[in-house]
Structure formats: structure tokens, C-alpha cells
């Protein structure tokens, strides 16, 4: 953490005025919301005349709301649709159906010029600090790209602004003319952060921003993101599969499974009292730093693999692997609503939510599950 940017205290003036907002924003000041967002990817066959033979249900009916100034964490296994959801929200993927409202405007219906204006407000930080920077361009040119694309500043003005951004994220502005290959992974991710900040966005979608980094570097980048949020009043959607990282950065957390949100709640609430059996299993698989506590912890081991998103299970998508599944779960899809005894923003999509203190079966094949697979920890850590 010794590398924390000193530049934070010497903020470029322009950044304050446009985006800084009181952290205690009104409770219902929703910046972005998704309503029934669905994204299917067609699988096509044929050489000249392509025929759609199947579709991957990457995101299948997601509702979420992100308030101004907060961080919404999204966790889930690989293939649960987290990244696709992120790309739908940033407008990189056109949605199959549903609405995404950003400050009240449905971005799925924006014109080309409207979309370009929208892109100034929503930026993205990518997972791979090596793949997300063009290796043939100098850092100054990469960070200055947003200015060039939107015709905001050029020449000496652009250089000055880029160097301010570099200072803001803790990079040496003298490295303006270097190539990405001359930086370490953590520094490269800082370059990505600087590029995302250039247009003073209101929302930044972080798609596993630290999962490609060393643990020590992860902390630096996460703290940088948190500090920037405080300084600039940013709103984050933070996607990760590392549960402890998500807990640390998020105000609220949503758990995704097979293209749906299974549970969403305030971070502490979710981590202390998960109601969805999948959340409980996922959290029980997280590594615990204290060895004594780790020994006492009950691990819920799920059987089988995540079903294919090409042909997701009926009813509740988790039913084939759920220890609590019953007939109703196969037939009827549970709604994402507040369950008995929960806080107002604790939503669970489960017919039989886990009661506090309830111990779930260690190994349970779920209903209608035939599996001879050896037991495997399913959660990627």
C-alpha cells in the first residue's frame, strides 16, 4: 500500500466539479437499473446459410439497481454470466430483451450518437491488464484515447490532462512515452483505470479488475479504486469471483448463477446471513484466513457441474444441485423478492430459503440428479 497515489490529494480541478457528489446520496437515487435483461448468444451452423441451432442463455432475466455512489458487487462462478451482464450494461453487447436505464434513459434504444454520449458516462475496467492495452501504442496515447475519440482536448492540453490522470492513479507522469510492455501488471491496471477515468464517468464497470494480479498488487489496485470512489463520487459495478475482494469493496452484493441473480443484499448481510442455498455453498467454499476457524467451518460441497447454459434447468436453475430442492423448485421459478424476516433490500430467489443457523447437508445430490462425478470444489478461488 506504500504505492498509494499521492496525487489523490492534488486532484485536477476539473474532476471535482463534474462528478464529486456527497457520499450519502439519497437512498433511492438510482443511477443505473436493469429490468429483465436477457442476452442470448446464438450458436450457428452451416457454411454459407447459417442456421441458429441453439442459444447460450448467458444472461437470462436480470433485474438490478445501482444507487449513485455505491458499489454493487457481483459474484458467481465462471460462466454465470457476470461478464456478459457487465458488457450489456456498458452497451458493448446489444441485449436480446429487457431494459437498461441509465439516469432514466433506456440505453438499449439509444441511437449511434446517443450511445457515443452515453459512453462518456459509463466506463469499463477490464480483467486482463495485458490484453486490454494495445501493445503498439504508448501509454500517453492509450490514456489520451478517450480525449481523441470525443474531440475533447488535443496537443499540449491533452498531454497535460493525461499526465494529471497518470498522477491521479499513482503512475509517474514522466512515463508518458513508454509502452505498456515496460510496466508491471499492477501498473498496467492503473493505466486502464486512468483511461477509464479520463472522461469523468459516473459509472465504472469493473470486470474482474484484480483477478489477473498478484495478491499484494490486488490490494493496491482495490484501494486505489476505493480512494478514487471517495474522491470522485464514482459508482461501481464490481465483478469478481474472489469473495473476500467483493466483500471488501462492495456496499451491496448480487450472487449470479446461470444467468440469473439468486440473491442480493447488503454486503455484510449477505456474507453473514445468506438465504439462498447457492450463496451459502459459495460462501462456505471461500478460504478463511484463520486456521482454527477454518477447521470449524462447515463446507457445503455441491455435487455435479454447473448445467449447460444452452439448456438451463427448469424452475429454479439451482434445483439439480440444491440440498433443499423439492418438487416445487423443478416446476416453479422462484421470484427475486424479500423473504420473511429479511431486510428490505435483501432479495432472495428461493422457495425454501436457508434459515439462520440451519446446517445444510454436506453432500446432497439434489433432486433428479444423477451424477457419478467425484466431489469437486466447484467454486473458483
Amino acid at each position: 500500500m506504500s504505492e498509494l497515489p499521492e496525487g489523490l490529494h492534488a486532484l485536477p480541478e476539473g474532476l471535482h466539479a463534474a462528478t464529486a457528489r456527497p457520499a450519502e446520496a439519497a437512498q433511492d437515487d438510482v443511477l443505473v437499473s436493469a429490468e429483465g435483461v436477457v442476452k442470448y448468444f446464438p450458436i450457428k451452423q452451416g457454411i454459407v446459410f447459417k442456421k441458429e441451432v441453439a442459444r447460450v442463455h448467458a444472461v437470462d432475466g436480470v433485474d438490478l439497481r445501482v444507487r449513485r455512489g455505491e458499489t454493487l458487487g457481483i459474484v458467481g462462478e465462471s460462466g454465470s454470466g457476470k461478464s456478459t451482464l457487465a458488457r450489456c450494461i456498458t452497451g458493448l453487447h446489444p441485449v436480446t430483451s429487457g431494459r437498461i436505464l441509465f439516469e432514466g434513459t433506456d440505453i438499449t434504444k439509444l441511437s449511434k450518437s446517443g450511445l457515443k454520449a452515453f459512453r462518456r458516462d459509463v466506463q469499463m475496467i477490464f480483467q486482463d491488464p495485458y490484453g486490454s492495452l494495445n501493445p503498439r501504442r504508448r501509454v500517453g496515447s492509450i490514456i489520451g484515447d478517450p480525449f481523441a475519440i470525443h474531440n475533447i482536448a488535443d496537443g499540449a492540453d491533452r498531454k497535460k490532462r493525461v499526465q494529471e490522470l497518470m498522477e491521479l492513479v499513482g503512475l509517474n507522469p514522466e512515463h508518458y512515452n513508454r509502452f505498456p510492455a515496460e510496466f508491471s501488471g499492477g501498473q498496467r491496471q492503473r493505466i486502464g483505470v486512468a483511461r477509464a477515468l479520463a472522461l469523468k464517468p459516473k459509472l465504472i464497470v469493473c470486470d474482474e479488475p484484480v483477478s489477473a494480479l498478484d495478491v499484494s498488487i490486488q490490494a493496491q489496485v482495490i484501494n486505489l479504486l476505493k480512494d478514487l470512489q471517495d474522491e470522485l463520487g464514482l459508482t461501481y459495478i464490481f465483478i469478481a469471483h474472489d469473495l473476500s475482494v467483493v466483500r471488501y469493496v462492495s456496499d451491496r452484493v448480487g450472487v449470479m448463477y446461470l444467468g440469473r441473480i439468486g440473491e442480493s443484499a447488503a454486503a455484510e448481510e449477505l456474507y453473514e446471513r445468506p438465504r439462498h442455498p447457492y450463496s451459502a455453498a459459495l460462501l462456505s467454499a471461500a478460504s478463511i484466513a484463520d486456521p482454527d476457524e477454518a477447521e470449524r467451518a462447515e463446507r457445503i460441497v455441491l455435487i455435479g457441474d454447473v448445467p449447460s447454459p444452452i439448456d438451463p434447468p427448469s424452475g429454479c436453475r439451482f434445483h439439480p444441485r440444491c440440498p433443499k430442492a423439492q418438487e416445487r423448485c423443478v416446476a416453479e421459478e422462484p421470484a427475486l423478492v424479500v423473504r420473511d424476516g429479511d431486510a428490505a433490500d435483501h432479495l432472495t430467489a428461493c422457495h425454501f430459503p436457508v434459515e439462520p443457523g440451519e446446517v445444510l447437508a454436506h453432500e446432497h445430490a439434489g433432486i433428479s440428479q444423477v451424477s457419478t462425478e467425484p466431489e469437486l470444489p466447484e467454486v473458483e478461488q
Binding site: 450511445l115 466506463q123 486490454s132 492495452l133 503498439r136 478517450p146 509502452f179
Partner: protein
Amino acid sequence: MSSFTELDSEIVPVDAEPRRVQGRTPWQLAWTRFRRDRLAVASLVVLALMVVFAALAPLWAHWTGHPYDATFPKTALDPSGQPVGPGRHFWLGADQLGRDVLVRAAYGARISLVVGVAAAVLASVIGVAVGVLAGFVGGVLDTVLARMMDITLALPYLLVAIMLATTFQLTSVAASVSLTIVVIAFFSFAAFGRIIRGQVLSLREKEFIEAARSLGAGNLRIMAVDVLPNLMAQVTVLTSLLIPTSIVFEATLSFLGVGVRLPMPSWGSMLGEGSDVFQTAWWLLAVPAFLLLLTTLSFNLLGDGIRDALDPRGDRHSGKK
């Protein structure tokens, strides 16, 4: 042994000044690697000499007093009408019409280099344009362009070239050179475009392309700023390897009499004329053949050197002991 001496130079004295790390562009790094490749540097020198030889062709004609299309029946042919061999007046001998082979070879070098380089550059420009469009835009455009390239590759190029030459019956040298360049480029761009298309297809999935898109960059900008610069290494290598192919292509067309118009000499047409009388005048074949071999070999080695320099991950010594 040589590896030991190489090691020695790497041992830094203890009291040496700490070396200042300096940022270098990928091209600077490539140039450093290229300079260490002796074979490639030698090829570059040979090609530079060839360019001088070709560029100074009028000077050779002036010094020897033998213009490329002038015949010298008295000095160049012996009493029985056979061309004289290499000697004091005709350094590389004379041909059966009594023309100076040295001067003609120099003019032929001009044709070979100009046609080879121009055709390769034209083919790479078209190939890059088609490949990038097909790979990046995709969809119907990709299908159309990819099939077009397949069709081009399937055409019998010599037949088409002969047909074009007989159809147009070009009389001026400039027009015949231009047609030759266009024909060669037309038959070379498809192979080029296919490789570029494949490269673009993999580049398109890179996150920095997605990042540019999320910043609001349009397709044109992404192609120009993010895709093309990442293709330059490939394009450089492919173009440098396309030059020798184009030179041989030109020689083939001229050999068959459908390339560069006579009396402008070309190595190919010199080979064609010399093949009639090579049993008595070996130099008529040997000179153009040697020059053709030297030039194409040098270009190929140069291309290999450029590839090694631009792609340090490739194992340059694979297969060699």
C-alpha cells in the same frame, strides 16, 4: 567457442556505471536484433549493390558506349556471326544480336526491382485492405471477400496473364510494365489477404479492441489505430517475402513474352532469348540467371531476417545446427 566470446562481453565490471534503462520502441528493438543477423545484413548489402547497379544503368551504357537496345554487328559478333564472350569490350559478353549483356542486365535489374517491389506493395495494400475489412467487419462482407479470395487463388494465373497480354497488345514499355505489376498484384493479394484476415479475426477478440469500443471509438478508428499497427510486423514480413515471388513471376511472364515489352530488357526475356543459343553462348543464360538467383535469394533471406527480428519468440535456429 563463439558462445564463450559472446558471454565475455556480457560480464559487466563491478565498478561499471549502472546502466540507465532506456525505453525503446518495438521497431528499435527489432533493428537491434536485425543488426546481429549476419546473413540478413549481408543480403541487405547485396540488395543495396543491386539497386546501385540498376540505378546506374544509363551510366554503364554511357561508359561502354553501348545503349541497351543498340546492336554492334562489327564488334559484338565474330566473323561467323556468333556473339563474343566476356572480354575487354563486352565485360559480360554480347547476345546474338550484338547487344551488350552487362548493360542489358542492368536495365533488366531495373525492371525486376521496380516490378517486384511495386507489385508486392500493391498486393499488400490490397491484401491488407481486403483482409482487415473481411476480418473486422465480418458477416456478409466477410463471406463475399473470403470467397472472392478463394476464387482468385483458383484461377490459372499464367493463362489469365497470357490472355490479358494478347488482348491488350500493349506497345509502350510503361504500359506493359504497369500491366505486369497489376497482374502480379492481382494474383498475389489473395494469399496475403487470407493471412491478414486470420490475424484480424484473432485481434478482434482482444480486450483492447473492446476497450476502444467502450470508449466510443468507431470501426474506422479502431481499424486504423488499434488493428493496423498490430499488423505491421506481419505485413512487413509478408511484403518482403512477396518481393522475390513477384520478381520470379515477372521473369516468368517476360520469359513467355507476355510480360515487359521488348526491346526493354528484363531478366526473364533475356533468359528466353538466351535459351536459343546457350550451347555456344553460355553467358546469355548465366548472367540473368545468376542475377535472378542472387536477388531472390537475398530478398528471401532478408525477409527471414526481418521476421526473426520482429518476432523474437520464434525459434530462429530451429532445424539448424
